[in-house]
């Protein structure tokens, strides 16, 4: 890609949409490779797939685990 602009879009109450990034680095230094054109980075901390949003921010009730 020639257009290397990285754009972050705010989704209030939900994730950040990130376009054009190569990886997202977690606090422990683990780098998650970006594998789609746009990714949603979790901001609520409730996702089971950090750093990615898995829509858990919508689920007001406690999460059930199997």
């Amino acid at each position: 890609m020639s257009n290397r602009r990285v754009v972050v879009t705010d989704c209030p109450g939900g994730p950040l949409l990130v376009r054009g990034a190569d990886e997202v680095v977690g606090i422990d230094g683990t780098a998650a490779p970006v594998e789609r054109a746009v990714v949603a980075v979790c901001r609520c901390g409730r996702s089971d797939r950090l750093p990615w949003c898995d829509d858990s921010h919508r689920d007001r009730r406690r999460k059930t685990k199997t």
């Binding site: 879009t9 989704c11 109450g13 939900g14 994730p15 949409l17 594998e35 789609r36 054109a37 746009v38 990714v39 949603a40 089971d48 797939r49 990615w52 949003c53 898995d54 829509d55 858990s56 919508r58 689920d59 007001r60 009730r61 199997t66």
Partner: protein, 342 residues
């Protein structure tokens, strides 16, 4: 794909017409036969007739020789008659949907804010569907397969209806829809095409990837849920509804996919099945934001008069998909539902 077996006068009329020799006399499906249709949303014959007519605009049928069938004026007359009845029933269902939502004007200052708030609000209310919970906790392998068979009618054509909307909208909304569709279509990788992921899931379970048998066993309500997307996408005047439908569909997909994924793991289904649902948890969390904020908000910023249609499409999606889910659950409950195809 071959033509599916008809199941009543309306679908028979359509199939007979399509089988007729090119330039031969056309048996126009008789719109008056629709007088017998009491509830088009669950009427299998009605929905199958419409589905077959719509499919002419997608991949078509190997056993239809007439290459002009797609735009045959007489078939168009039949399609329009079926669509009128269908749209009327959908609008009625929407108007009967209990709605405590505030008026659009009270949800924000601009049409974009209003529509965003309305879509977030209406999709937040729906928890994981009963179908997803059933698949998560209780479904047998057979019932899980029957779910895949039912959904195959959509997933083997996944995202195709919405592609018809691309030339019908402009600006930022068009760009966002293209971005979403690019992801649905594999992001440049043919092996990640979502339709292909689903076909692989079917294949891994020894189920056919031919659409016709699934169409023949799908309930009327499932066919209606797929026809609804074509109705909105193939009529330019309904482009707002098409995008509202997409937003509601994506916004209510991620959490159920997570449940279904856990159900597939519980049943130790093949990796291809896991992969399909796994991909959709993450993808649809992105698509939801793209559809609500990128597409619908931008669309109504551009064409404010479409705001009520966006809400209509979203409400119709939740109502009709809800109906299809209920019918499916009823089938499982009574144990009458056919077991896995293929």
């Amino acid at each position: 794909m071959r033509l599916p077996q008809p199941c009543g006068p309306l679908s028979e009329g359509v199939v007979e017409t399509l089988r007729a020799r090119p330039n031969g006399p056309h048996a126009v499906p008789e719109p008056r036969a629709m007088g017998d249709v009491t509830y088009p949303l669950t009427d299998r014959d009605f929905q199958l007739a419409l589905w077959i007519l719509y499919e002419l605009h997608y991949r078509g049928f190997d056993d239809v020789d007439d290459p002009h069938a797609e735009w045959d004026p007489l078939l168009m007359v039949s399609r329009a008659a079926l669509e009128r009845t269908f749209e009327h029933a959908v609008r009625r269902l929407v108007s009967e949907t209990p709605d405590e939502a505030p008026a659009l004007e009270d949800l924000g200052d601009t049409p974009a804010e209003q529509v965003t708030a309305a879509l977030v609000r209406m999709t937040a209310r729906s928890g994981p569907s009963d179908v997803a919970q059933f698949l998560h906790r209780r479904a047998t392998r057979e019932e899980f397969c029957s779910y895949l068979a039912e959904r195959a009618v959509y997933h083997l054509r996944e995202s195709d209806p919405q592609s018809f909307v691309l030339p019908r909208i402009g600006g930022a909304a068009k760009v966002a829809l293209a971005e979403l569709q690019y992801d649905e279509y594999g992001g440049g990788r043919p092996d990640r095409l979502h339709q292909a992921l689903f076909a692989r899931a079917l294949d891994s379970l020894g189920m056919t990837t031919d659409l016709a048998p699934y169409v023949e066993r799908a309930t009327g309500a499932t066919l209606a849920s797929v026809n609804l997307m074509s109705l909105f996408a193939l009529n330019r005047r309904l482009r707002g509804a098409a995008m509202g439908h997409l937003a509601a569909f994506e916004a209510t997909s991620s959490l159920p996919c997570e449940r279904i994924l856990r159900g597939a793991r519980r049943l130790r289904l093949p990796d291809a099945v896991i992969d399909y649902y796994d991909e959709h948890v993450e993808a649809d969390a992105v698509h939801e934001q793209l559809a609500i904020r990128g597409i619908c908000a931008a669309l109504v910023a551009d064409e404010p008069e479409l705001a009520p249609d966006v809400v209509l499409g979203a409400t119709a999606c939740l109502a009709v998909d809800g109906l299809a889910g209920e019918v499916l659950l009823d089938g499982w409950r009574t144990g009458r539902h056919d077991r896995a195809a293929g």
